[in-house]
Amino acid sequence: MSPLSSIRRLWAVAYNTFLESVRQRLFFGVVFFALLLMLTALVLKDISVHQDKKIVADIGLGAIDFFGTIIAIFLGADLVGRDIERRTLHLLLVKPLRRSEFILGRYLGLCLTLFTSVVLMSLGLAMALATVNGDFSANIGKAVYSLLLQLCLTGAIAVFFSTTSSRVLAILGSTVVAVLGRLTDVLKNASLIIEGFPDWLGKAMYFSLPNLLNFDLKNRAIYGDVLPGAILLDLTFYALAYSAALLALGALAFRRRDLK
């Protein structure tokens, strides 16, 4: 099978996944809530004592982070399991579609969905900022890009769980890992916080869990720090590498999975 035909198959699955996702109520509901939250920011600013731009930006970026994570987990955790349950997968896997291509295609479709939701929410943020005479600066753009990387990594976590377990377990597993991924700074120093906690264990967890805090550039963006491209490049590599590893692991696990 030539690489070109592989790309065509990947695109077919990815695009199909994207269509499926954006036609779901979950997607629209979440994006709607995020935008609603940004509207709320415009109300809150009045009780914050001249902090309107900061608060609107904080809420906007926080909403993209939080609601994007919900989309990544709830859609991602379903991507493989649902096809197995509904047995749509049975039709597909007897075509010249490798199981690994199916998983990768599903994941790429999820990334496309996440990209779309982030763009929509960013537009909402830009409008909210404009209302308070702030602007969607290049720095905020970088923070949003970084969030997108984080969401794609979270999606990879969810897809991985989706290849190995049922929908409920996949959601649970993804949520737990995503939460732990945000507490990595605590884990790293766990030996200082918890008596008797072995330092090597804390460090091991720090390096093996997906460090989602890496991607949190919100504070820096809002305070106008310089965010050099090199940082974004590093973050991109990290997200790519970790996602690739997760997807590979999932594909390996999925290879021998019986489809009853």
């Binding site: 077919a12 199909n16 049975h90 039709l91 896997l93």
Partner: protein
């Protein structure tokens, strides 16, 4: 079995399916041995739960066998290229129901890497052939069960496969639909395709199959032609209308129809007899053990 390369073969294939965390022994299928030649239709017959679907899934790689070797179109199952030559219709096919029929066919065609123009033409021809061309623009979730079944058949044929594996292809179809499928299968056989289809409705199999493979409790106790499995008819039953048919008795409940049982050697003469008396021939049925009998017997015949 002809010495030519089999289109499909199972050799010693076995699989035990266990429910996780359960102490029950699980359902074992096999060891299975079966060969299908080109241009042959074989029916996989058995009651519900006999293991027909499991066998098909083993053939397609959806289940990984614990033992044995499977070849499709001459290629061992663990290579990548056999999918191009195989078409599969699962039992109660599930689609991405937010897509239209046409969109789904296009999606499948993309997976095969078919050239766009060829694909478009083939899609239209197949959709017309299975009779859903007019609904092809609507989302699949609006289709009836029969329409979905027809779409399933269409997608199985999209890559012009050499081997077709069909799981209950007549399911969900009305009598006209069943007739359509039967005719289609015969047409495909005439094109040299090999077909294995499973069913628990025996008359469907009897009409089109060259051979039968019986499945019972995960085993395949018998494979062969009707004659091989059931033996030659011990007699024939001739039914006719308005007889002054010598030796005939009225069929139970049907005053106008008469039946007559004759030895196989007397069949031709008996038919002439009936016709010469001005009766209309309704049917000539062989008298022999039925497949149902075979399936329910406690001593199944061994593979011939």
């Amino acid at each position: 079995m002809s010495p030519a390369r089999a289109a499909l073969s199972l050799a010693g294939v076995a699989k035990t399916i266990k429910t996780p965390f359960s102490r029950r022994p699980g359902f074992t299928v096999g060891p299975l041995n079966l060969s299908i030649s080109e241009g042959e239709i074989v029916g996989l017959i058995g009651a519900n739960g006999a293991g027909k679907t499991t066998t098909l899934k083993l053939l397609l790689g959806l289940l990984v066998p614990d033992a044995g070797r499977i070849e499709l179109a001459g290629v061992p199952l663990d290579r990548d290229s056999w999918q191009r030559d195989v078409g599969y219709l699962p039992e109660q096919p599930a689609f991405y129901d937010y897509l239209s029929g046409r969109e789904f066919m296009r999606f499948v065609g993309d997976l095969f890497g078919l050239e766009r123009k060829t694909l478009a033409a083939r899609i239209e021809s197949l959709l017309t052939r299975v009779g859903i061309a007019e609904s092809a623009h609507r989302p699949i979730r609006t289709y009836s069960k029969g329409m979905q079944q027809r779409l399933g058949i269409a997608q199985a044929l999209l890559n012009d496969p050499k081997v077709l594996l069909l799981d209950e292809p007549m399911s969900g179809l009305d009598p006209l639909g069943r007739l359509f499928v039967r005719d289609l299968l015969l047409e495909l056989r005439a094109q040299g395709k090999s077909i294995l289809f499973s069913t628990h409705v025996i008359p469907d199999a009897e009409y089109v199959c060259d051979r039968l493979a019986l499945m019972k409790a995960g085993q395949m106790p018998a494979v062969g032609t009707f004659d091989e499995l059931l033996g030659l008819p011990t007699g024939f039953e001739i039914a006719a209308v308005r007889a002054t048919m010598p030796g005939a008795v009225p069929r139970p409940g049907e005053a106008d129809r008469f039946i007559r049982r004759v030895e196989p050697s007397e069949l031709t003469r008996a038919i002439d007899d009936v016709l010469s008396h001005g009766a209309h021939l309704v049917s000539v049925s062989p008298i022999r053990a039925s497949v149902e009998d075979l399936l329910s017997s406690s001593n199944p015949e061994s593979d011939k």
